[in-house]
């Protein structure tokens, strides 16, 4: 029986060619894998990071993602209950450090959910005023609130105040650019110094203060803010802010006198308005006519202190000599003047303004 047979040399050639082709195929696949190795590794790490709470990633300690090398990453699923329930009981507390340890192994550059450094949370005392910790930020807010706002408004207020004062002074005398800059720089320094003092004081604040601790610390806050408030009080030359001292030291005596004169006029204007208001209230209380008010107006100027409030003015009028009373008031009004002022239970809005008298 004759069977068809192939040429041996030809079949060998075909086999060799097939082997070569297969080798090439495998090599090209390896090359492709090598090219994709780095991005794949990155992707794997990132997804691992996102699932860090649930996944346990084990990586050889010396493994590094080098271009062109495949990094072996072993991924396993951790028990789902371990992370959320951590810290509740002893078993879970034991599980937690393991998880943390593993998360630490993730290259920090890839770890988006890096754990915050743990703070030592002081347990609130039984007699604490508040059930939350008063951290320095909260104390800072408390201190600035004593000055009528936040840190931001304090900054804004101070800078505006300096600018406004300089603008006002420039209406009366010339302030050259050099002095202006010097004053502004001094004011800036003062602001920063005050802010540093606030920060230093806030850092000393008790975390969970009791009533006594709070009062004690509040006294310190009051001292700091009061010093600042006194600087802003008008006619307080001794405790004038440094920038004002710098400004005045750079002005001539003539300019100083002019400024002083202008300040006096402004003070007088404000006080006159207050006195007129008191006169109006007295007029309503006694039913004065325009002529009677005209007669009273000179008294407003002669004794300015007595006309600051309705009570003071009422008492002053009661103590007027009889002759003067008869000249000004009618018999009914004199009778009315003998009565004390009534007091009301109504809520009254009181507004205090701290003026800048430069």
């Amino acid at each position: 029986m004759v069977t068809p047979s192939f040429n041996n040399s030809l079949s060998t050639k075909v086999r060799k060619a097939a082997a070569i082709a297969a080798k090439r195929q495998v090599l090209s696949i390896f090359r492709a894998i090598r090219r994709c190795a780095k991005p794949l590794c990155l992707l794997a790490s990132m997804s691992m990071g996102l699932m860090a709470q649930e996944l346990v990633i084990e990586q050889p300690p010396n493994a590094q993602a080098v271009a062109g090398q495949v990094v072996v990453v072993q991924v396993g699923v951790a028990p789902a209950v371990a992370a959320p329930a951590a810290g509740k009981d002893d078993t879970n507390q034991a599980a937690k450090p393991k998880s943390d340890k593993v998360v630490d192994k993730i290259p920090r550059a890839f770890d988006r959910n890096r754990p915050e450094p743990e703070e030592e949370v002081e347990a609130p005392k039984k007699n604490a005023m508040v059930n939350f910790a008063m951290d320095p930020d909260r104390w800072t807010d408390v201190i600035y609130s004593q000055l009528g706002g936040s840190e931001g408004t304090f900054d804004q207020q101070q800078r505006r105040r300096v600018r406004s004062t300089l603008n006002r002074i420039e209406l009366i005398c010339t302030v050259d650019e050099q002095i202006r800059e010097k004053v502004q720089a001094t004011a800036e320094l003062e602001i920063q110094r005050f802010k540093t003092e606030v920060m230093a004081l806030a850092a000393q604040g008790p975390r969970n203060p009791t009533q006594e601790e709070y009062s004690e610390f509040y006294n310190k806050v009051f001292k700091l803010t009061e010093r600042y408030r006194q600087q802003n009080q008008p006619n307080n030359a001794k405790k004038m802010p440094l920038w004002q001292k710098v400004l005045f030291s750079n002005l001539s005596q003539q300019h100083k006198d002019e400024l002083e004169k202008d300040a006096q006029k402004r003070i007088e204007y404000r006080q006159q308005v207050v006195r007129l208001e008191v006169l109006q209230r007295i007029s309503r209380r006694l039913g004065l006519t325009s002529k009677q008010r005209e007669k009273l107006e000179p008294y407003l100027l002669s004794n300015t202190e007595a006309w600051k409030t309705l009570d003071q003015a009422w008492q002053t009028l009661q103590q007027f000599p009889e002759k003067e009373k008869k000249d000004i008031f009618t018999a009914e009004q004199m009778q009315e003047l003998k009565k004390p002022l009534e007091q009301s239970d109504d809520l009254q809005l009181v507004i205090r303004e701290f003026g800048d008298d430069l």
């Binding site: 204007y269 039913g287 009618t330």
Partner: protein
């Protein structure tokens, strides 16, 4: 009994008193028919009279009435000083006021007794307006007397204007850093823009705002650039109580002007009874 009274068009107080009495009579007769004890007639009568005569409903209402009477009495004194009324004019005016004051100020009493504070009730303004109207209604008062009184009112308004504008200028001085010269300029600018509403606002505890646009012509370039300081060092707080600048007059005393008192035929405001709920001893 009731039918003839209704046809004669009785006043509202009389009608309401009759209706209440009628209802009570029906109720009493029903109770008597059931054999129950009748309510003493004297006590019933007292309640009916107090309710029908626009009586003070509570302490605040009572205080408001006293203030209004005090202010009216002062206006009468001032009118006499300024206008020099004769006896006939005085009698007509004082009778008119005594007869109408309760109805005229009913809304004031209600507003004050229902509000938590005086804000919103301007006693002075309401009394001034009412007195002006009453003066016009008395025919015997001459035009010269009317104009003298109007001059007096203008003088009061001028004082108020000076106060409110002065406060606004003081406020602007702090906000914009004005000099004394600029303050005078700003004062003149605000006088041109004066509104009566500013006084009402001020009386209620708010200084009207001085708008930048109103006074910008008086400011320097640097001040215009800097603008207003919105965060001045300002403390605001409420305090309970204080001296009151309103005079008060008892509800039992009649209005008087130049020795002439209101007619005895005009009923006075009944005093609040001690036993009545929400009322106090006079």
């Amino acid at each position: 009994m009731i039918a003839p009274t209704l046809t004669a068009k009785p006043s509202l107080a009389q009608t309401s008193a009759c209706l209440i009495a009628w209802c009570l009579a029906i109720a009493c007769s029903t109770q008597l028919a059931r054999g129950q004890v009748a309510i003493p007639a004297v006590k019933l009568q007292a309640r009916v009279v107090v309710a029908g005569a626009n009586a003070p409903v509570n302490e605040r209402d009572h205080t408001a009435r006293k203030w209004v009477r005090g202010l009216i009495q002062q206006e009468l004194n001032a009118i006499q000083t300024v206008c020099k009324l004769n006896d006939k004019q005085a009698k007509e005016l004082v009778d008119l006021m005594e007869a109408e004051w309760r109805n005229k100020f009913a809304s004031v009493f209600r507003s004050y007794s229902e509000a938590n504070q005086r804000g919103g009730v301007d006693f002075e303004f309401r009394v001034e307006s009412a007195v002006k109207t009453w003066l016009r209604e008395v025919d015997s008062i001459t035009p010269d007397q009317q104009s003298a009184w109007n001059y007096e009112l203008d003088s009061r308004n001028e004082l108020r204007r000076r106060i409110v504008i002065g406060k606004m200028v003081s406020d602007a001085e702090r906000k914009f850093g004005l000099s004394s010269k600029q303050m005078k300029e700003v004062e003149a600018l605000l006088h041109e823009r004066w509104k009566e509403a500013w006084w009402v606002m001020y009386r209620n505890g708010t200084t009207p705002e001085t708008k930048f646009a109103w006074i910008s012509t008086a400011l320097s370039d640097a001040q215009r650039t800097a603008g207003a300081d919105p965060s001045g060092i300002r403390q605001e707080y409420y305090t309970s109580g204080g001296s009151v600048d309103l005079p008060s007059k008892s509800l039992a005393d009649r209005f008087t002007i130049a020795g002439v008192t209101s007619d005895d035929s005009i009923p006075l405001q009944p005093q609040p009874k001690a036993d009545a709920p929400g009322q106090r001893e006079p």
